[in-house]
Each structure stands twice: as structure tokens, then as C-alpha cells.
């Protein structure tokens, strides 16, 4: 009997898990991949591994206590999250905080943004295979962490804002250290670009990979650098200025290509813009009080309130439904991470598994922000 040769050999789709402990997923996020060979057919994120029911805990806590929970959502832009909660409470109570508070909040918010993008740059480089970036980024981020530690007392979960202002005044060294950091960091961003952006391997890993069209970005509700990399104007600091953003001049970082490299460029541009914002404000921090006295038990008037801010990852919205008691009836966060994760299927379908790592890096996933 002669052996027969099958003429209709076909490839078969199969299923593979990426995560929940894959180092490239930046946390405990499980990606369910359907792949054909090495080509991705479908990506489905499985969420909930570190769900801590923060929104439910908000319903239990008083408005002062809610602030510290938001540190634990997007821990890389914790100060901006705190600010969002404080702004929505101040909006409901119709408190006008002093100019000094607004300026300090803006400066620390921009420092947070730089620290977040700095960490992202290091991790992004590591995801595509360059370990050096990680050390360089952490070296510069350490200086920002020192500023935070000296003024706020903590490096990551600062909890420096309270409804009505700041917990205490800035440290006397704050201005000096921030100026030193600006001078230092201005020499480092060109170095970042020289090290990574021009590199042929990096270009091949990012150029034309994971292209997000502006229509998709809008329909998925993407925000922040992910949407701005596709040319969508969505900077809340420009559209609805809060704190001291209406006092400063800055440009919205925009790129039109929509691929991984465009999102990289947006974040580098944003670091330059943040430096410029801090420079405009740091020399003329107005004198005055650092807090407005609120009642020990804050009760919001009955009604619904919404405030949105621009975190390092995109638009964070805080929705409060109050029934007039000391706890909110409902506290909802519209987190940037969850909406940005939504685009991943349309970005990754058709590309290779290795590209998925680069795509996830440029979406800048922070899992506690997605799960809350």
C-alpha cells in the first residue's frame, strides 16, 4: 500500500493565554488570543483579577476618605486622580479654592505626568527589547519621586489634595528642587530620542504597527495619548481647562499616523509641554492660603456632579450622585485605561504576537485603573 499525500493541508486556529502573569502585560491582565500560526485573529482581554470594588467603597466612605482610594486606581498619576475627586467635591460645594492651590496642583500634576511618561518610556523600551531605557528612565523619575516625598511625604500614593485645597503647604525646597529637575531633564529627553527613537530595531517594531484610525479612536472612546496619536483633539486641559491650565500657554501634542511610533512621539512631546507648563508657573506661585476651611463632615447638596481631568493616560471622569448625606449614593469613575484597552482588538488583529507586546506598551496599560 502506497502512502498517500494529503493535498489539502490547512492551518488551524488555536487558543492561547497571554497572562495573567505575563510580564509584558504590566500587571495581572489576561489576554485570550486566538491565533493562526503567529498571526493574531482575535484578542479578548479578561478583566477583574485585581478588582477591589473601589466604587463601592466610595459609597461607604466620607468625601475626605474617598480621595485616598483614587491613589490606588491609576497609581502612576495618583495626584491627578486626587485632584479630580477634590474638584468634583469643590464644584458641588461651590468652593473657589485660592490661586495658590490651583497653581501648586497644576505643577504637581504636570510633574506626575512627566514621571508617568518617564516610567512608560523605560518600560516601553524594555518591552521591545532594550533594557538600558529602563534604568535611564528610573534614574530621572527618582528625582521627581524625591520632590514628592519631600513635599507630600510619600512617593507614589501621595494623597496630598483634600477637598478645599492642599493638606499642607509645599516644602521650602520644592521650588529649588523642581527647577533643578527641569534643568536636568531638558538635557535628558534628547538623549532618550537618540537612544531609542532612531534605532532601526525600534523603528521596525513600531512603525506601521497597530494603526488606530481616528474614527475608531472616537468610537471606542479612547482618550489621552492613544487618541492624540491618531490626530484626535481630546486634551481636557485644552477643551475644559481646570485648575491653572487656563493661565498657561501650551500646545496639544498631536500626531496623525496612529501607529505605535506616533503614540511614542506624542508622549515625548507631552513631556516637553509639561516642562514648559511647569516653567511658566514655578517662578510665580501666588502667596496665600493653601486650603479653604470645610466642615468636618462634608455633605454634598442633592444632585449629580461630574468633573473630568486629563491624567497621564487620558480622560478621567468622576461622577457623583448625592442624596444629601455624608456619603455619595453613587460614585462612578470613567477611567482612561478601560476605554483605551477597548481598542486593542482592532489594533492587534492581523499582526504578530510580538507586535501585541509593542501595542500594549504604547496603549500604556495600568491594570488597577482598568479593574478598579
Amino acid at each position: 500500500m502506497e502512502p498517500t499525500v494529503k493535498s489539502n493541508i490547512k492551518t488551524e486556529e488555536y487558543f492561547i493565554n497571554m497572562g495573567p502573569q505575563h510580564p509584558a502585560t504590566h500587571g495581572v491582565l489576561r489576554m485570550m488570543l486566538t491565533i493562526d500560526g503567529e498571526i493574531i485573529k482575535n484578542v479578548e482581554p479578561d478583566l477583574g483579577y485585581i478588582h477591589r470594588s473601589i466604587e463601592k467603597m466610595c459609597e461607604r466612605d466620607s468625601y475626605q476618605q474617598i480621595v485616598h482610594l483614587t491613589d490606588r486606581m491609576d497609581y502612576l498619576s495618583s495626584h491627578i486622580n486626587n485632584e479630580a475627586v477634590c474638584l468634583v467635591v469643590e464644584k458641588a460645594l461651590e468652593i473657589d479654592v485660592p490661586e495658590r492651590v490651583k497653581v501648586i496642583r497644576t505643577i504637581i500634576g504636570e510633574l506626575t505626568r512627566i514621571a508617568s511618561h518617564c516610567l512608560w518610556w523605560g518600560v516601553m523600551g524594555m518591552d521591545v527589547g532594550a533594557l538600558t531605557t529602563y534604568f535611564y528612565a528610573f534614574r530621572d523619575r527618582e528625582l521627581i519621586n524625591d520632590i514628592f516625598e519631600e513635599t507630600c511625604g510619600a512617593r507614589l500614593t501621595m494623597n496630598y489634595n483634600i477637598p478645599g485645597g492642599l493638606m499642607f503647604d509645599i516644602h521650602p525646597n520644592f521650588v529649588k528642587r523642581t527647577k533643578e529637575f527641569i534643568a536636568h531633564f531638558k538635557t535628558k529627553i534628547p538623549e532618550y530620542d537618540r537612544l531609542l527613537k532612531g534605532n532601526v530595531i525600534f523603528q521596525k517594531r513600531t512603525k506601521g504597527i497597530g494603526v488606530l484610525s481616528p474614527e475608531d479612536a472616537i468610537s471606542f472612546g479612547a482618550s489621552g495619548p492613544v487618541a492624540r496619536g491618531s490626530g484626535v483633539n481630546c486634551d481636557i486641559r485644552k477643551i475644559h481647562p481646570y485648575s491653572a491650565y487656563d493661565l498657561v500657554k501650551f500646545e496639544e501634542a498631536l500626531q496623525t499616523d496612529g501607529d505605535c511610533l506616533a503614540r511614542y512621539k506624542v508622549r515625548i512631546q507631552e513631556m516637553w509641554q509639561s516642562l514648559s507648563i511647569i516653567e511658566q508657573l514655578i517662578d510665580n506661585i501666588p502667596e496665600g492660603d493653601t486650603k479653604v476651611a470645610t466642615k468636618a463632615v462634608i455633605k454634598l447638596p442633592k444632585g449629580e456632579y461630574y468633573q473630568r481631568v486629563e491624567t497621564a493616560r487620558g480622560e478621567l471622569g468622576c461622577y457623583v450622585n448625592s442624596t444629601g448625606t455624608k456619603n455619595p449614593y453613587r460614585f462612578k469613575f470613567r477611567s482612561p485605561g478601560l476605554s483605551n484597552l477597548g481598542v486593542i482588538n482592532s489594533l492587534a488583529t492581523g499582526s504578530k504576537i510580538g507586535d501585541l507586546v509593542a501595542i500594549m506598551a504604547t496603549i500604556d496599560i495600568v491594570v488597577p485603573d482598568i479593574d478598579r
Binding site: 466612605d61 475626605q64 476618605q65 480621595v67 485616598h68 482610594l69 491613589d71 538600558t132 534614574r139 527618582e142 516625598e149 519631600e150 513635599t151 507630600c152 511625604g153 510619600a154 500614593t157 494623597n159 483634600i162 493638606m167 499642607f168 516644602h171 538623549e191 537618540r194 537612544l195 531609542l196 532612531g198 534605532n199 532601526v200 468636618a296
Partner: protein, 158 residues
């Protein structure tokens, strides 16, 4: 032709990147932030505002400033502080007055948010700057902040 230009570009960008890392290789110690941690315990000093753990300072005659008003207990988001209080007779006026029996602090549950210290009207509790909080047994993270036999300083009212 693009084959050779690709090789040229590859080598060029590689050398550009290497010039950055090479520069750091030559002047390695300049601006280095790394600390030899366990060996530099004597010289390592935290910032004044660093949130290590909550402590209650006592003076020479074993007196603290806590009146037992429980504002820190109410301010705490996760039940870290527990105050067991009692009523004692005030020596001067002879009236009954609230005093603390035990000010219990669960370091294991503390998130270092600082709300208790903000809430304290008499500055009885402050931040300590110690940073080595890991222990072998979880129960040793529960601390009683007021020392045995201590009492509130005279004239402290909330």
C-alpha cells in the same frame, strides 16, 4: 541598493545609541543615585514629612497630648485606629473627664493617607520617619501608642 542603505542605517543608529550608553560608561559615577542600602543605615535619613508610621510622642514625665476625642478614629478610612477610652476624675475640677485607656494602631492596615494626623486637634499623633516595618509575625504590627502609666498633659483641651 536599499540593502546596503539598510546596513548603513542600522550601523549608524546603533552607534548613535551606543554613544549615549558609552558616554555613561566613561563617566559612570557622576550623578549616580544608587545607594548601598543596608550598609548606609546610619547615614540614610528620610525627609521630615516622610510617612513611616503613626506615633504618639511622650515627654519626660510620661505625658502625651491625646484627649481621647476619637477624631482620628472617625477620620481613618479603614479602621486602623481603635481607641479604648474611659472616664476619669479630673484632679483640678473634680468633674468626670474622658481619657484614653489604649490608643491602638494597626500598622498592617494603615495606608499612610495622613487623614488622622490632619484631623487631630491637639497634635497628639505625628508621623515617624522609620522605614523598616517588616516583621516576622503579623500580630506585632498592632501597637499601643500610649505608653503604660502615661496620662494626658495638663491643660490640653480639644
Amino acid at each position: 541598493m536599499s540593502y546596503f542603505s539598510d546596513i548603513y542605517n542600522g550601523i549608524k543608529t546603533l552607534l548613535t545609541g551606543m554613544s549615549v550608553t558609552g558616554g555613561y560608561f566613561i563617566r559612570a559615577r557622576k550623578g549616580a543615585l544608587t545607594q548601598q542600602y543596608p550598609d548606609n543605615r546610619e547615614t540614610l535619613k528620610m525627609f521630615d514629612r516622610f510617612r513611616g508610621e503613626v506615633i504618639m510622642p511622650h515627654d519626660d514625665v510620661n505625658e502625651h497630648r491625646c484627649t481621647g476625642c476619637q477624631k482620628c478614629e472617625i477620620a481613618c478610612p479603614n479602621g486602623t485606629i481603635e481607641i479604648i477610652w474611659d472616664r476619669g476624675i479630673d484632679e483640678e475640677t473634680g468633674k468626670k473627664k474622658k481619657k484614653i485607656d489604649q490608643h491602638i494602631y494597626h500598622l498592617g492596615m494603615c495606608t499612610m493617607c495622613g487623614l488622622c494626623i490632619e484631623a487631630c486637634p491637639t497634635d497628639a499623633i505625628v508621623w515617624a520617619q522609620n522605614y523598616e516595618n517588616s516583621v516576622y509575625d503579623r500580630t506585632s504590627l498592632t501597637k499601643v501608642l500610649n505608653q503604660p502609666g502615661s496620662k494626658v498633659k495638663a491643660g490640653i483641651e480639644d
